[in-house]
């Protein structure tokens, strides 16, 4: 059995979920449940911190897409942070690197989000 630990915390930009362990068809439902529990407002950004993720298969990819659909329906945005190289390779194979904004870490994700919300100048 695979192991996945998810910790959720609030940031000024919106909820951030840190994933640690393996994301496969055994553990993907955990991520879906965690995302369902998150309170997400319009104009917020949900960040999935993947820095602790050791494995991701097609079920994990599905969970990412479901998360994206959910945030877009709420009028919110979604971004990935701290994606390790082996996970990035999977994302590239399925083309998700073109769909999800990728950031080095949660802090950068929040900063970029703040910048896009309050662009300089009128």
């Amino acid at each position: 059995m695979s192991d996945l630990h998810i910790t959720t915390h609030a940031t000024p930009a919106g909820p951030a979920l840190a994933l640690r362990g393996e994301l496969d068809h055994h553990s993907a439902p955990l991520l879906r449940e965690a995302i369902d529990r998150v309170t997400l407002h319009a104009d917020e950004q949900m960040v999935l911190d993947l820095s602790g993720l050791t494995f991701c298969d097609s079920s994990g990819i599905t969970a990412f897409i479901v998360a994206r659909n959910r945030t877009l329906e709420s009028g919110a945005a979604i971004a990935l942070a701290g994606t390790p190289p082996h996970i990035l390779r999977v994302l590239r194979i399925v083309g998700l690197d073109q769909i999800f904004p990728l950031h080095p870490d949660t802090g950068t994700a929040a900063a970029v989000w703040a910048q896009t919300r309050n662009p300089v100048g009128p």
């Binding site: 494995f55 097609s58 897409i65 194979i93 399925v94 083309g95 073109q98 769909i99």
Partner: protein
Amino acid sequence: MTCGTGHGRESAGSGPGSGVSLEASFSALLEDDIDDLYENAPCGYLSTLLDGQIAKANTTLLTWLGYRREEMVGRMRFTDLLTVGGKLYHETHFGPLLRMQGGVRGIALELKAADGTRLPVLVTSTVKAGADGEPQLVRTTLVDARDRRAYEQELLRGRQEAEAAREQAERDRARLQSVLATLQQSLLPPSLPVVPGLEAAAHYHTASPDHLGGDFYDLFTLGNGRWGFFLGDVCGKGPEAAAVTSLTRYTLRAAALHDADPVTVLGILNTALHEKYASGDARYCTVIFGTLTPRDDGFAVSLASGGHPPVLVTRADGTARYLPTPGGCLVGALPDAPFTAVTTTLAPGDTLLLYTDGLTEARIGTGSGGERYGDDALLDFAARLSPVTPGAAITAVTELLRGFGDGLDDDTAVLCLGVPSVTPIEESS
């Protein structure tokens, strides 16, 4: 209570003559008429001679059965009151037991009434011996067992209904399994077609026989000597995944017949899947679609990937490499997914290997943190095989999958297409 005195006082025996008067009143009630007690007892009484002839019967029994006394006494035998089955039972069990033991208790039999109706009774018989100890006659009591029979029938009916429900459930289960097997079979091509100048082989590993798999592949004609092929993986398992697999297969085939350009075909599939599954749960697939066009002594290959792991190609010169298709996006998740095309040629001795990620994501380590097989290992594996025919490659991959044992917990499909190094035409000339 007919006695006016209190219970406590009575048992204490106080009061002159009170005990005597109670006894007398009970006697009056209980023994006033022994005949009446016999005739109208709450059970049937029957006395028969040793040959079974009825010598005496009480009113209760006569009433139950609807006989007049003179019709029964001296004219009928006990067995005349029994059903055919009862007669048989009496002959083989009841009678012998009675003779052997001098009594039989609580046997369930059915009596036949004068009007033909049946009366279930519990029968107890004892043999009465005379002063000389020789058997004289048989005394029999018959207890009305209609309530008991009704209860038994309720139990029986309940059991029969439960049994019927179980049988129905088993039939339904068998039917569902057969439907499931048929559907699953329909998701895979029954066999690969014979393509002139091409060798094709495939293997499909099902992780669980109960689950409809989400992996699929096909090889089919496009007319004018051209062929289309695809291999893919629908996310998820079960009936929903199977529905996507079905839609995907038929959309790819239909789209390819219209315009076989791989990027165009994947674009049509993307539109079809996205439109159908835009709302609700994400339904998508990763797929490689390609065409084979005869050229010189081999085929020109054009293929496009929609988020699927890259194809492996082994060459006649003994090399192996991936055919990267970067930037192709999984199919059905986005309204305008980009797809990446690549072309190559298959010359004699070259083989294409298409696979789903069950192969590369099999666990090879032990325990939960087990290492995955991975694409580097797969490339090494192919390099060791190369040059290889599709048939030999499938045999080797099947062996590899078997070696994963429990580490392989996902469906896996593998399709190999290659040009034989010595074509049959060359062989015959």
